[in-house]
Amino acid sequence: MIRGQSGIRPIRAFDTSGLPCRIASEIPQFDARKYLDKEARKSLKVMARTIKLAVAASQLALDDAKVDKSKLDPTRFGIEFGSGLIATELDELGEAAIVSANCQPGSVDLEKWAEKGLETIPPLWMLKYLPNMPACHVSILHNAQGPNNSITESDVASLLAIGEAYRILIRDQADLFLVGGAESKLNPLSLVRQCLYEPLSKRNEDPEKACRPFDKDRDGIVVGEGAGVLVLEELDHAQKRGARIYAEVVGFGASFDRDRSGSGLARAIRAALKDANLRPESIDHINAHGLASIESDVREAKGLQEVFGSCNPPIPVFAAKSYIGNLGAAGGSVELAASVLALQNGVVPKTLNYELPDPACPVTVIAKEPRPVMRDCFVKVGFTPMGQCAALIWRKWA
């Protein structure tokens, strides 16, 4: 991101010639085996790609945190993941579909499905796709016996998961969490659905320019895949084991924006500020939701204005989706990691593709080049089109 490099390209995972959407932020050559020891690799067979991403990111997080599991109390080691609907791989139902689909379009002979089709479906088929399986697999792989939840709230799932873990740590029911989320919609069934009901960008010919949060010429969302996992740990516990600390979560708020005006988002942010005992002026930058749909960015700008509008100089906005598209249940955690590293490195990446301001989105966007960090806190915000909102405030660990 610091180099201004986009992750959005033509989709390679499958042939998209039947779809109006041909671009996405795809993880090239992802091999989950690299992240697991030999013993654990057996379990990959019952994992959808989404779950493999969660497992790989969890291993990376634990390695980065240098967690010595032998010294952890497993009953105080929890998992809070954001998760979404995981679509089935179509070929797993192929044989069953062939024997049972009638000539009549949209008609299935359920008796043939049951008699001849069932036996062609792998016995553990359902387990590959249940939304609680990322948290399950990771808990098994790492013997995490503490509090465990799978939050399925779409684009704010991982933010709510982190917020809930934060609250659990505060009430002293755990010492350490793996938090975050994983999602891959890069499979035919998921992408068909996205094309049906999400406002996707049509800029297939120019993928790197397609995702344009807050820009006047934005034309829609770009789908992405990924996983972002953080180790969230109680401070004493971290210090006692000499852990390296990146940042501290200091505030959390959530709300529902019923009239879709952005005021719900403002309430979530204000709740987080109150929780952190901070004023808007203390925020270095806003790590935006920045969905890049025409409507969502307008709503977000209104909400941000409500909270930060009177700040002078204005609090600028960074929109990570301009690089990686919308990762859904993984979006919040992946995007906020960029700001955590920004605090550490003293510089916030620019937002890609912000070339023409939109008067309907009065926000100050970090645009032409990376910007030095000036204060020690940032706020990560997110919301769903239907109205669920969340905000998390982080402070650099000095």
Binding site: F14, D15, L19, P74, T75, I79, L85, L90, L93, G94, E95, A97, I98, A101, G106, S107, L110, W113, A114, L118, I121, P122, P123, W125, L127, L130, N132, M133, A135, C136, S139, I140, N143, A144, Q145, G146, P147, N148, N149, S150, I151, T152, E153, S154, A157, L160, E164, R167, I170, P188, L189, L191, V192, Y197, A254, S255, G264, T384, G387, Q388
Partner: protein, 430 residues
């Protein structure tokens, strides 16, 4: 001083009736909600029966019936139970309370896939010789055949959003899906949210139906379901030696959780108090609980500790009691390990013997059953209990309801995949 959380309203849509009183009366009579599957043609499936919600009409529960045609039954059941709970709590149209401090937390399942269109499109594009999909052909066909609105309604966060919009609940809004523990977890986490002063009132509970071709396919392939097709009402037999798997149910349970002073100020009726919550993971296997019961034991202990109660204070246990070989044995072991000697004095029953397994919605409905049991002074039975299992030797209130005044009840939900939740609910004492 920790903020106290009470229940001021309840609602339920279940295979034994589409209201809390109807359901509870049927439970006391030992009625079974199980019958031959009617929601789809299951006659050649390994399992041909389920506990189904019948005669349910959302009309009384929504402002505009026409706007719900694309929503799955998960949302439709939730609308009914939520409306009942909010009405009972007296806040359906109360403009005096601060709605930005009223949230929603659901343990709620996915919507219903468009099975016929999905399978037809797969069949049209699947090449048997190569065992591969012609993806462009599938894509082109599906884009035309699928209905955008009902596809969107399958997303997991839609039910909680709909409830917030329909009932003007603008506080924190969550959905979780820890399988069979989901709605218990929703209630537990919502309780903690109120205790932490993040909200004053939360509509909490769950809603689910997997009684459809892909749902039954998935569970039948795992051999998790009972196949007692010759006698469906007897199939759900928790703790019985011959138990052979769970029976699918469906429905919704909702409670209004409220901070105590907030409830008193507006003169709300208080039905019970949520006194304890515990959440753990087995970290063992994808499908079976750990045989030593470690996850369940830890979970029950945490809930008790949270409530400040002793094992001897528990007057009734509503078990997870799925009627699988493993769960019922391990749950029995866990209860004995935590309660020690008093385990044999505490009546335990599984409502799943009559309601089947409501999956994500089970926890909420079973918590409501605990509240009703304490209010009425009668505990519902475990029906179909005919052949005792030597490894399951507790008092399961076999076959007949029992009069008993319990002041505190424990409700267990041990999810598929090892996520466990226990709740303690108590008679309210000022």
């Amino acid at each position: 001083m920790r903020r106290r959380v009470v229940i001021t309203g309840m609602g339920a849509i279940t295979p034994l009736g589409n209201s809390v009183p109807a359901m509870f009366n049927a439970l006391l009579e030992g009625k079974s909600g199980v019958s031959k599957t009617v929601h789809f043609n299951a006659k050649r499936f390994p399992t041909q029966f389920a506990a189904q919600v019948l005669d349910y009409d959302i009309t009384p529960y929504v402002r505009d019936v026409g706007s719900w045609t694309s929503s799955g039954v998960n949302t439709q059941f939730a609308l009914g139970a939520a409306h009942q709970a909010l009405t009972e709590a007296g806040i359906l149209n109360d403009s005096k309370i601060d709605r930005t401090r009223c949230g929603v937390y659901l343990g709620s399942g996915e919507g219903i896939q468009d099975f016929p269109n999905l399978i037809y499109q797969i069949a049209s594009a699947y090449r048997s010789e190569s065992r591969k999909m012609d993806v462009p052909a599938f894509s082109r066909g599906a884009l035309v055949a699928f209905h955008a609105d009902s596809e969107a309604e399958q997303e997991l966060h839609t039910t909680a959003a709909h409830l917030a919009i329909e009932h003007d609940l603008e506080g924190p809004n969550y959905t979780c899906l820890t399988a069979c523990a989901a709605s218990s977890q929703a209630i537990g986490e919502a309780t903690e949210m109120i205790r932490h002063d993040d909200a004053d009132l939360i509509l909490a509970g769950g809603s689910h139906s997997m009684i459809h071709p892909l749902g039954v396919t998935g569970f039948n392939r795992l051999t998790a379901l009972s196949t007692l097709n010759e006698d469906p009402t007897k199939a759900s037999r928790p703790f019985d030696l011959r138990r052979d798997g769970f029976v699918m149910g469906e429905g919704s349970g909702m409670v209004v959780l409220e901070e105590l002073e907030h409830a008193k100020r507006r003169g709300a009726t208080i039905y019970a108090e949520l006194t304890g919550y515990g959440s753990t993971a087995d970290a063992f296997r994808l499908t079976d609980s750990c045989e030593d019961g470690r996850g369940a034991i830890a979970c029950i202990r945490l809930a008790l500790k949270d409530s400040g109660l002793q094992p001897a204070d528990i007057g009734y246990i509503n078990a997870h009691g799925t009627s699988t070989q493993v769960n019922d044995k391990v749950e029995t072991l866990a209860i004995k390990k935590v309660l020690g000697e008093t385990a044999y004095q505490v009546p335990v029953s599984s409502s799943k013997s009559m309601l089947g397994h409501l999956i994500a919605a089970a926890g909420a409905v079973e918590l409501i059953i605990c509240v009703m049991a304490m209010r009425r002074g009668v505990l519902p039975p475990t029906i179909n209990y005919e052949v005792p299992d030597p490894e399951c030797d507790l008092d399961y209130i076999p076959n007949q309801a029992r009069e008993k005044r319990a002041s505190h009840a424990l409700s267990n939900s041990f999810g598929f995949g090892g996520q466990n939740v226990s709740l303690v609910v108590s008679r309210f004492v000022n």
